[in-house]
Symmetry: C2
Subunit: 172 residues, 2 copies
DNA sequence: CGTGAAACATTAGCGGC
DNA sequence: GCCGCTAATGTTTCACG
Protein backbone atom coordinates (compact mmCIF):
# COMPACT_ATOMS: atom_id res chain seq x y z
CA UNK A 1 0.00 0.00 0.00
CA UNK A 2 3.03 2.29 0.04
CA UNK A 3 3.00 5.00 -2.57
CA UNK A 4 4.61 4.01 -5.80
CA UNK A 5 6.09 5.53 -8.92
CA UNK A 6 4.25 4.67 -12.12
CA UNK A 7 5.86 5.18 -15.50
CA UNK A 8 4.07 5.28 -18.85
CA UNK A 9 4.28 1.50 -19.29
CA UNK A 10 2.76 0.86 -15.86
CA UNK A 11 -0.14 3.12 -16.72
CA UNK A 12 -0.71 1.36 -20.02
CA UNK A 13 -0.73 -1.99 -18.23
CA UNK A 14 -3.30 -0.64 -15.76
CA UNK A 15 -5.44 0.76 -18.56
CA UNK A 16 -5.40 -2.62 -20.31
CA UNK A 17 -6.18 -4.62 -17.17
CA UNK A 18 -9.04 -2.43 -16.04
CA UNK A 19 -10.73 -3.09 -19.40
CA UNK A 20 -9.93 -6.80 -19.56
CA UNK A 21 -8.64 -8.41 -16.40
CA UNK A 22 -8.21 -11.84 -17.92
CA UNK A 23 -5.74 -11.10 -20.68
CA UNK A 24 -2.71 -13.34 -20.47
CA UNK A 25 0.57 -11.84 -19.41
CA UNK A 26 1.92 -12.67 -22.86
CA UNK A 27 -0.82 -10.71 -24.58
CA UNK A 28 -0.28 -7.70 -22.30
CA UNK A 29 3.48 -7.89 -22.78
CA UNK A 30 2.99 -7.78 -26.53
CA UNK A 31 0.67 -4.75 -26.35
CA UNK A 32 3.15 -2.73 -24.26
CA UNK A 33 6.21 -3.91 -26.25
CA UNK A 34 7.86 -5.83 -23.48
CA UNK A 35 8.83 -9.46 -23.14
CA UNK A 36 6.73 -11.55 -20.74
CA UNK A 37 9.05 -11.53 -17.73
CA UNK A 38 9.46 -7.80 -17.12
CA UNK A 39 5.76 -7.37 -17.85
CA UNK A 40 4.85 -9.94 -15.23
CA UNK A 41 7.25 -8.33 -12.74
CA UNK A 42 5.48 -5.01 -13.25
CA UNK A 43 2.03 -6.56 -12.80
CA UNK A 44 3.12 -8.31 -9.58
CA UNK A 45 4.54 -5.04 -8.30
CA UNK A 46 1.26 -3.25 -9.08
CA UNK A 47 -0.67 -5.97 -7.26
CA UNK A 48 1.60 -5.95 -4.22
CA UNK A 49 1.62 -2.17 -3.95
CA UNK A 50 -2.19 -2.22 -3.87
CA UNK A 51 -2.65 -0.15 -7.03
CA UNK A 52 -4.40 -3.23 -8.43
CA UNK A 53 -6.91 -4.06 -5.68
CA UNK A 54 -8.04 -7.27 -7.29
CA UNK A 55 -9.67 -8.93 -10.25
CA UNK A 56 -13.39 -9.59 -10.58
CA UNK A 57 -15.99 -10.84 -13.02
CA UNK A 58 -18.78 -8.34 -13.65
CA UNK A 59 -22.25 -9.90 -13.84
CA UNK A 60 -25.39 -8.71 -15.58
CA UNK A 61 -27.91 -7.66 -12.91
CA UNK A 62 -30.91 -7.82 -15.25
CA UNK A 63 -30.15 -11.36 -16.40
CA UNK A 64 -29.88 -12.39 -12.76
CA UNK A 65 -33.29 -10.94 -11.96
CA UNK A 66 -31.97 -7.92 -10.03
CA UNK A 67 -34.16 -5.43 -11.87
CA UNK A 68 -34.25 -2.61 -9.35
CA UNK A 69 -31.39 -0.26 -8.53
CA UNK A 70 -32.03 2.39 -5.88
CA UNK A 71 -29.97 5.16 -4.33
CA UNK A 72 -31.04 5.75 -0.76
CA UNK A 73 -30.21 8.84 1.31
CA UNK A 74 -30.14 8.12 5.02
CA UNK A 75 -29.99 10.49 7.98
CA UNK A 76 -29.03 9.24 11.44
CA UNK A 77 -29.95 10.24 14.97
CA UNK A 78 -27.15 12.36 16.39
CA UNK A 79 -27.98 13.08 20.02
CA UNK A 80 -27.99 10.41 22.70
CA UNK A 81 -26.11 7.10 22.37
CA UNK A 82 -28.01 4.12 21.07
CA UNK A 83 -29.59 1.94 23.77
CA UNK A 84 -27.08 -0.58 25.03
CA UNK A 85 -27.84 -4.28 25.28
CA UNK A 86 -28.52 -6.78 22.52
CA UNK A 87 -30.01 -5.38 19.30
CA UNK A 88 -32.62 -6.95 17.06
CA UNK A 89 -29.88 -8.30 14.80
CA UNK A 90 -28.28 -10.06 17.76
CA UNK A 91 -25.20 -7.79 17.84
CA UNK A 92 -24.10 -7.08 21.39
CA UNK A 93 -23.14 -3.43 22.04
CA UNK A 94 -20.63 -1.79 24.33
CA UNK A 95 -21.58 1.47 25.96
CA UNK A 96 -20.08 4.34 23.92
CA UNK A 97 -20.96 2.89 20.50
CA UNK A 98 -22.10 5.77 18.28
CA UNK A 99 -25.07 5.75 15.94
CA UNK A 100 -22.71 5.97 12.97
CA UNK A 101 -20.68 2.95 14.13
CA UNK A 102 -23.85 0.98 14.68
CA UNK A 103 -25.20 1.87 11.26
CA UNK A 104 -21.95 1.04 9.49
CA UNK A 105 -21.89 -2.41 11.02
CA UNK A 106 -25.45 -3.02 9.89
CA UNK A 107 -24.66 -1.91 6.33
CA UNK A 108 -21.81 -4.42 6.10
CA UNK A 109 -24.26 -7.20 6.89
CA UNK A 110 -26.97 -6.22 4.38
CA UNK A 111 -26.24 -7.98 1.09
CA UNK A 112 -28.56 -5.76 -1.01
CA UNK A 113 -26.40 -2.72 -0.15
CA UNK A 114 -23.62 -2.87 -2.73
CA UNK A 115 -22.10 0.51 -1.86
CA UNK A 116 -22.30 2.99 0.99
CA UNK A 117 -20.63 6.38 1.46
CA UNK A 118 -20.64 8.93 4.24
CA UNK A 119 -21.54 12.16 2.43
CA UNK A 120 -21.42 15.92 2.67
CA UNK A 121 -24.71 17.80 2.42
CA UNK A 122 -28.06 17.40 4.07
CA UNK A 123 -27.89 13.63 4.21
CA UNK A 124 -25.44 11.47 6.18
CA UNK A 125 -25.13 8.36 4.02
CA UNK A 126 -25.74 7.40 0.43
CA UNK A 127 -26.52 3.74 -0.19
CA UNK A 128 -26.64 1.94 -3.50
CA UNK A 129 -29.16 -0.88 -3.20
CA UNK A 130 -29.59 -3.67 -5.74
CA UNK A 131 -32.68 -5.88 -5.45
CA UNK A 132 -35.11 -7.98 -7.49
CA UNK A 133 -38.15 -5.74 -7.43
CA UNK A 134 -40.11 -3.11 -5.54
CA UNK A 135 -41.56 -5.71 -3.16
CA UNK A 136 -38.07 -6.69 -2.05
CA UNK A 137 -37.01 -3.05 -1.81
CA UNK A 138 -40.04 -2.19 0.27
CA UNK A 139 -39.26 -5.01 2.71
CA UNK A 140 -35.65 -3.84 2.91
CA UNK A 141 -36.64 -0.28 3.78
CA UNK A 142 -39.39 -1.22 6.25
CA UNK A 143 -37.77 -4.18 7.99
CA UNK A 144 -34.09 -3.20 7.89
CA UNK A 145 -33.50 0.50 7.34
CA UNK A 146 -36.45 2.09 9.14
CA UNK A 147 -36.29 -0.57 11.81
CA UNK A 148 -32.72 0.38 12.63
CA UNK A 149 -32.62 2.39 15.90
CA UNK A 150 -30.20 5.03 14.54
CA UNK A 151 -32.03 5.85 11.30
CA UNK A 152 -34.29 8.88 11.39
CA UNK A 153 -34.89 9.60 7.72
CA UNK A 154 -34.79 7.69 4.43
CA UNK A 155 -35.24 9.11 0.92
CA UNK A 156 -35.00 6.86 -2.13
CA UNK A 157 -34.55 7.45 -5.85
CA UNK A 158 -34.65 4.76 -8.48
CA UNK A 159 -32.57 4.26 -11.58
CA UNK A 160 -34.73 4.43 -14.71
CA UNK A 161 -31.82 3.77 -17.02
CA UNK A 162 -28.10 3.24 -16.47
CA UNK A 163 -26.42 4.59 -19.54
CA UNK A 164 -22.85 4.80 -18.33
CA UNK A 165 -21.27 2.47 -15.81
CA UNK A 166 -17.61 1.62 -15.70
CA UNK A 167 -15.20 0.33 -13.09
CA UNK A 168 -12.31 1.77 -15.12
CA UNK A 169 -10.83 4.89 -13.54
CA UNK A 170 -9.72 7.79 -15.74
CA UNK A 171 -5.96 7.34 -15.47
CA UNK A 172 -4.56 8.34 -18.87
CA UNK B 1 -28.04 -12.37 -23.97
CA UNK B 2 -30.92 -14.87 -24.11
CA UNK B 3 -32.31 -15.78 -20.75
CA UNK B 4 -30.69 -18.80 -19.23
CA UNK B 5 -31.28 -21.40 -16.56
CA UNK B 6 -28.76 -21.36 -13.73
CA UNK B 7 -28.38 -24.31 -11.39
CA UNK B 8 -26.70 -24.30 -7.99
CA UNK B 9 -23.26 -24.99 -9.48
CA UNK B 10 -23.55 -22.13 -11.98
CA UNK B 11 -24.40 -19.79 -9.12
CA UNK B 12 -21.44 -20.97 -7.09
CA UNK B 13 -19.17 -20.40 -10.09
CA UNK B 14 -20.56 -16.87 -10.47
CA UNK B 15 -20.11 -16.17 -6.76
CA UNK B 16 -16.49 -17.30 -6.95
CA UNK B 17 -15.69 -15.33 -10.11
CA UNK B 18 -17.23 -12.09 -8.91
CA UNK B 19 -14.90 -12.22 -5.89
CA UNK B 20 -11.80 -13.33 -7.79
CA UNK B 21 -11.94 -13.14 -11.56
CA UNK B 22 -8.46 -14.53 -12.10
CA UNK B 23 -8.78 -17.90 -10.45
CA UNK B 24 -7.72 -20.68 -12.76
CA UNK B 25 -10.38 -22.93 -14.16
CA UNK B 26 -8.74 -25.80 -12.29
CA UNK B 27 -9.07 -24.01 -8.97
CA UNK B 28 -12.73 -23.18 -9.63
CA UNK B 29 -13.43 -26.74 -10.75
CA UNK B 30 -11.99 -28.03 -7.49
CA UNK B 31 -14.08 -25.65 -5.38
CA UNK B 32 -17.34 -26.69 -7.05
CA UNK B 33 -16.40 -30.40 -7.15
CA UNK B 34 -16.20 -30.74 -10.88
CA UNK B 35 -13.38 -31.71 -13.18
CA UNK B 36 -11.86 -28.92 -15.28
CA UNK B 37 -13.66 -29.57 -18.56
CA UNK B 38 -17.32 -29.34 -17.51
CA UNK B 39 -16.40 -26.39 -15.32
CA UNK B 40 -14.85 -24.58 -18.28
CA UNK B 41 -17.89 -25.41 -20.42
CA UNK B 42 -20.14 -23.81 -17.81
CA UNK B 43 -17.98 -20.70 -17.61
CA UNK B 44 -17.97 -20.31 -21.40
CA UNK B 45 -21.75 -20.67 -21.42
CA UNK B 46 -22.08 -18.00 -18.72
CA UNK B 47 -19.82 -15.70 -20.73
CA UNK B 48 -21.65 -16.27 -24.01
CA UNK B 49 -25.09 -15.83 -22.46
CA UNK B 50 -24.00 -12.43 -21.12
CA UNK B 51 -24.47 -13.31 -17.46
CA UNK B 52 -20.74 -12.71 -17.13
CA UNK B 53 -20.34 -9.28 -18.76
CA UNK B 54 -16.57 -9.31 -18.54
CA UNK B 55 -13.50 -9.43 -16.35
CA UNK B 56 -11.72 -6.36 -14.99
CA UNK B 57 -8.95 -5.32 -12.63
CA UNK B 58 -10.11 -2.94 -9.90
CA UNK B 59 -7.67 -0.12 -9.17
CA UNK B 60 -7.16 1.93 -6.03
CA UNK B 61 -8.36 5.49 -6.73
CA UNK B 62 -6.46 7.02 -3.77
CA UNK B 63 -3.13 5.49 -4.81
CA UNK B 64 -3.68 6.88 -8.30
CA UNK B 65 -4.27 10.37 -6.97
CA UNK B 66 -8.03 10.39 -7.62
CA UNK B 67 -8.89 11.66 -4.16
CA UNK B 68 -12.31 13.17 -4.81
CA UNK B 69 -15.51 11.23 -5.44
CA UNK B 70 -18.66 13.27 -6.07
CA UNK B 71 -22.27 12.42 -6.78
CA UNK B 72 -23.83 15.10 -8.95
CA UNK B 73 -27.57 15.60 -9.46
CA UNK B 74 -28.37 17.23 -12.79
CA UNK B 75 -31.61 18.69 -14.10
CA UNK B 76 -32.11 19.38 -17.80
CA UNK B 77 -34.06 21.92 -19.78
CA UNK B 78 -37.27 20.33 -20.99
CA UNK B 79 -39.04 22.83 -23.22
CA UNK B 80 -37.70 23.86 -26.60
CA UNK B 81 -35.27 21.69 -28.56
CA UNK B 82 -31.58 22.48 -28.25
CA UNK B 83 -30.23 24.89 -30.87
CA UNK B 84 -29.20 23.03 -33.99
CA UNK B 85 -25.81 23.45 -35.59
CA UNK B 86 -22.38 22.46 -34.31
CA UNK B 87 -21.93 22.42 -30.53
CA UNK B 88 -18.91 23.42 -28.48
CA UNK B 89 -17.73 19.79 -28.42
CA UNK B 90 -17.80 19.68 -32.20
CA UNK B 91 -20.74 17.26 -32.41
CA UNK B 92 -23.05 18.10 -35.31
CA UNK B 93 -26.77 17.93 -34.46
CA UNK B 94 -29.81 16.99 -36.44
CA UNK B 95 -32.99 18.93 -35.81
CA UNK B 96 -35.16 16.94 -33.39
CA UNK B 97 -32.33 15.93 -31.05
CA UNK B 98 -33.67 16.17 -27.49
CA UNK B 99 -31.90 17.68 -24.51
CA UNK B 100 -31.66 14.24 -22.94
CA UNK B 101 -30.04 12.72 -26.06
CA UNK B 102 -27.60 15.60 -26.22
CA UNK B 103 -26.69 15.26 -22.57
CA UNK B 104 -26.21 11.49 -22.78
CA UNK B 105 -23.79 11.85 -25.65
CA UNK B 106 -21.78 14.40 -23.67
CA UNK B 107 -21.65 12.13 -20.63
CA UNK B 108 -20.18 9.30 -22.69
CA UNK B 109 -17.33 11.57 -23.70
CA UNK B 110 -16.45 12.86 -20.22
CA UNK B 111 -13.85 10.53 -18.69
CA UNK B 112 -14.34 11.77 -15.11
CA UNK B 113 -17.97 10.56 -15.17
CA UNK B 114 -17.67 6.89 -14.25
CA UNK B 115 -21.41 6.26 -13.93
CA UNK B 116 -24.62 8.00 -14.95
CA UNK B 117 -28.25 7.04 -14.37
CA UNK B 118 -31.55 8.59 -15.38
CA UNK B 119 -33.43 8.79 -12.08
CA UNK B 120 -36.85 9.15 -10.55
CA UNK B 121 -37.47 12.08 -8.22
CA UNK B 122 -36.76 15.77 -8.46
CA UNK B 123 -33.55 15.35 -10.41
CA UNK B 124 -33.11 13.94 -13.93
CA UNK B 125 -29.66 12.38 -13.78
CA UNK B 126 -27.28 11.15 -11.14
CA UNK B 127 -23.59 11.21 -12.07
CA UNK B 128 -20.73 9.61 -10.23
CA UNK B 129 -17.63 11.72 -10.84
CA UNK B 130 -14.09 10.65 -9.96
CA UNK B 131 -11.36 13.31 -10.05
CA UNK B 132 -8.04 14.32 -8.49
CA UNK B 133 -9.14 17.21 -6.34
CA UNK B 134 -11.59 20.05 -5.89
CA UNK B 135 -9.80 22.20 -8.46
CA UNK B 136 -10.36 19.58 -11.11
CA UNK B 137 -13.96 19.08 -10.00
CA UNK B 138 -14.63 22.77 -10.13
CA UNK B 139 -13.30 22.98 -13.68
CA UNK B 140 -15.46 20.01 -14.65
CA UNK B 141 -18.63 21.62 -13.30
CA UNK B 142 -17.93 25.09 -14.69
CA UNK B 143 -16.47 24.21 -18.07
CA UNK B 144 -18.36 21.02 -18.91
CA UNK B 145 -21.58 20.59 -16.96
CA UNK B 146 -22.78 24.16 -16.54
CA UNK B 147 -21.49 25.02 -19.97
CA UNK B 148 -23.70 22.36 -21.51
CA UNK B 149 -26.72 23.98 -23.21
CA UNK B 150 -29.25 21.47 -21.81
CA UNK B 151 -28.20 21.63 -18.15
CA UNK B 152 -30.26 23.94 -15.95
CA UNK B 153 -29.31 22.81 -12.44
CA UNK B 154 -26.42 21.00 -10.76
CA UNK B 155 -26.20 19.90 -7.14
CA UNK B 156 -23.15 18.03 -5.84
CA UNK B 157 -22.39 15.95 -2.78
CA UNK B 158 -18.98 14.58 -1.88
CA UNK B 159 -17.99 11.24 -0.44
CA UNK B 160 -16.32 11.69 2.96
CA UNK B 161 -15.71 7.98 3.39
CA UNK B 162 -16.53 4.94 1.29
CA UNK B 163 -17.04 2.13 3.73
CA UNK B 164 -18.72 -0.42 1.53
CA UNK B 165 -18.10 -0.84 -2.19
CA UNK B 166 -18.46 -4.07 -4.04
CA UNK B 167 -19.00 -5.08 -7.65
CA UNK B 168 -20.32 -8.44 -6.44
CA UNK B 169 -24.09 -8.74 -6.80
CA UNK B 170 -26.13 -10.48 -4.10
CA UNK B 171 -26.94 -13.70 -5.95
CA UNK B 172 -26.92 -16.41 -3.27
C1' DC C 1 -19.44 -35.74 -17.06
C1' DG C 2 -14.51 -37.25 -17.02
C1' DT C 3 -9.83 -38.61 -19.18
C1' DG C 4 -5.75 -37.64 -21.40
C1' DA C 5 -2.55 -35.26 -24.61
C1' DA C 6 -1.20 -31.22 -27.21
C1' DA C 7 -0.89 -26.41 -27.11
C1' DC C 8 -0.20 -22.62 -24.48
C1' DA C 9 0.98 -19.63 -20.31
C1' DT C 10 3.47 -18.60 -16.02
C1' DT C 11 7.39 -17.98 -13.45
C1' DA C 12 12.24 -18.35 -11.32
C1' DG C 13 17.09 -18.14 -12.32
C1' DC C 14 20.76 -16.04 -14.82
C1' DG C 15 23.45 -13.07 -17.90
C1' DG C 16 23.70 -8.54 -20.33
C1' DC C 17 22.90 -3.60 -21.03
C1' DG D 1 18.46 -0.62 -11.47
C1' DC D 2 15.54 -2.93 -15.41
C1' DC D 3 15.40 -6.02 -19.68
C1' DG D 4 15.13 -10.55 -22.07
C1' DC D 5 16.39 -15.54 -22.54
C1' DT D 6 15.69 -20.24 -21.27
C1' DA D 7 13.67 -24.20 -19.18
C1' DA D 8 10.70 -26.29 -15.78
C1' DT D 9 6.22 -26.28 -14.14
C1' DG D 10 1.38 -25.52 -14.35
C1' DT D 11 -3.00 -24.47 -17.07
C1' DT D 12 -6.29 -24.50 -20.88
C1' DT D 13 -8.65 -26.76 -24.24
C1' DC D 14 -10.73 -30.34 -27.12
C1' DA D 15 -11.55 -34.96 -29.18
C1' DC D 16 -13.34 -38.94 -27.48
C1' DG D 17 -15.22 -42.59 -24.22
Amino acid sequence: MANIELDAIDRRILAILQENGRLSNQEIAERVNLSPSPCLRRIRRLEESGVIRGYVALLDAKLLGLDLLAYVNVRLEKRGGPATGVQAGGTPLRAGTTHAQLFRAAVQAWPEVVACHAMTGDTDFLLRVQVEDMAHFSRFVQDQLLHHPSVIDVRSSFSLDTFKETTALPIL
